[in-house]
C-alpha cells in the first residue's frame, strides 16, 4: 500500500486486531506492551499509539474495560465471592479492583451485585402461571380470614382447621 499513512494500512490494522482479539480471549492474563507488540508485529515503541489510533483507546485501558465487563457478568450471574472475581478477572489486589470498578461503572462491585439480584428476583422473570399460582393461596386465606372475622365478630387468631 504505497502512499498510505501507517495508521490506515489494512495489513497493519489486521495485525493490531489480532492483539485486540488476544486481549478479548484472555483478559485475565497480563498484557504488557511487549507481548501485544509481538502479536501484532509492530514495534513496542509504536504499539500503544497505533492501537489507540485503530480502536479509539489505549491498550491498557481497553484491557481494564474488558476485565470490568467480565467481572460485572460474574457478579450478576454467579455466586463467586468478590475476592474470587477480582482474582479470576486478572487483578492482584482487591483494592485496585474495587477502585477501578468504581471508576468505570460508578458503583462498587457489592452495590452492583445487590442491585442485579434485586432486579433478578423481580416477578417479571418468573413465568406468569407460576406467579399466579404462588399468589393464589395467600389471597384466598386473607379473604377467608376477613370473612371469618367479620362473621364471628372476633379479632382472635384463627385456627387453620377452620379453613375449608
Amino acid at each position: 500500500m504505497t502512499g498510505l499513512p501507517a495508521s490506515q494500512d489494512p495489513a497493519r490494522l489486521r495485525r493490531l486486531l489480532r492483539a485486540k482479539d488476544r486481549i478479548d480471549a484472555a483478559s485475565h492474563e497480563d498484557w504488557p506492551v511487549a507481548r501485544l507488540a509481538e502479536v501484532s508485529h509492530v514495534s513496542e515503541a509504536h504499539f500503544a499509539r497505533s492501537f489507540k489510533e485503530a480502536f479509539g483507546l489505549p491498550p491498557h485501558r481497553y484491557l481494564l474495560t474488558r476485565r470490568i465487563e467480565r467481572a460485572t457478568a460474574l457478579l450478576r450471574e454467579t455466586e463467586l465471592s468478590i475476592t474470587d472475581i477480582a482474582f479470576q478477572t486478572g487483578w492482584r489486589s482487591l483494592g485496585t479492583f474495587g477502585r477501578i470498578f468504581r471508576d468505570i461503572t460508578g458503583e462498587s462491585p457489592g452495590a452492583l451485585r445487590t442491585r442485579a439480584r434485586a432486579a433478578a428476583t423481580s416477578l417479571a422473570s418468573v413465568p406468569a402461571c407460576i406467579v399466579s399460582a404462588a399468589h393464589r393461596p395467600d389471597l384466598r386465606t386473607a379473604v377467608l380470614e376477613k370473612r371469618r372475622r367479620a362473621a364471628d365478630g372476633t379479632n382472635g387468631t384463627p385456627s387453620t382447621k377452620e379453613v375449608p
Partner: protein
C-alpha cells in the same frame, strides 16, 4: 418458487484468499465465479443450504472510489464489520477440524446458554461465531 434472501455478502481483502478459506477450510462450495474486467462476482454456498449464497466482494472499482475502498478496507481489517454466525452440528469437532487447517480462532468452544459456541475470523478480519445447533 421460493422467496427470501438469496445473496448476502461480506467484504474481503482478496478474493482468491477468501475463496481458499471458505472452500478449503470451512467447507463451502463455489456457487458463482464470474469476471467482467476488474470486477469479479464471487459467491459461495454451504452444501446444506442451497437457497443461500454468501458473496465474497472486494471493495473497489467500479463500485467504490479509491478513498471509499480504502475506508472499507481499513474497517474490515479492524474487525468492524457486522457479526456472522455459522451453525454447526458439533461445535467442538468443527473447532478441532478447522483449527487443524489453520483457522484463526478468537475463542475456543464454551458451553453456555444451553449450547456450545466458539469464535473465529476469516483472513480479512470478518468475525464469525460458530454455534452448535440445539438438539
Amino acid at each position: 418458487m421460493s422467496q427470501g434472501v438469496q445473496v448476502a455478502g461480506v467484504y474481503v481483502r482478496d478474493q482468491d484468499e477468501a475463496l481458499a478459506f471458505y472452500v478449503d477450510k470451512l467447507g463451502f462450495g463455489v456457487h458463482t465465479d464470474v469476471r467482467n474486467g476488474d470486477f469479479r462476482w464471487l459467491t459461495v454456498q454451504y452444501p446444506d443450504q442451497p437457497l443461500f449464497q454468501l458473496g465474497l466482494f472486494v471493495p473497489g472499482p467500479p463500485v467504490h472510489d479509491p478513498a471509499t475502498a480504502q475506508a472499507l478496507n481499513a474497517l474490515l481489517a479492524k474487525g468492524a464489520m457486522p457479526s456472522l454466525v455459522l451453525e454447526v452440528d458439533d461445535c467442538r469437532a468443527a473447532f478441532e477440524r478447522m483449527r487443524a487447517k489453520g483457522v484463526e480462532f478468537t475463542q475456543a468452544p464454551v458451553s453456555r446458554y444451553g449450547t456450545v459456541d466458539a469464535g473465529f475470523r476469516d483472513p480479512s478480519g470478518n468475525g464469525w461465531k460458530m454455534i452448535q445447533a440445539r438438539g
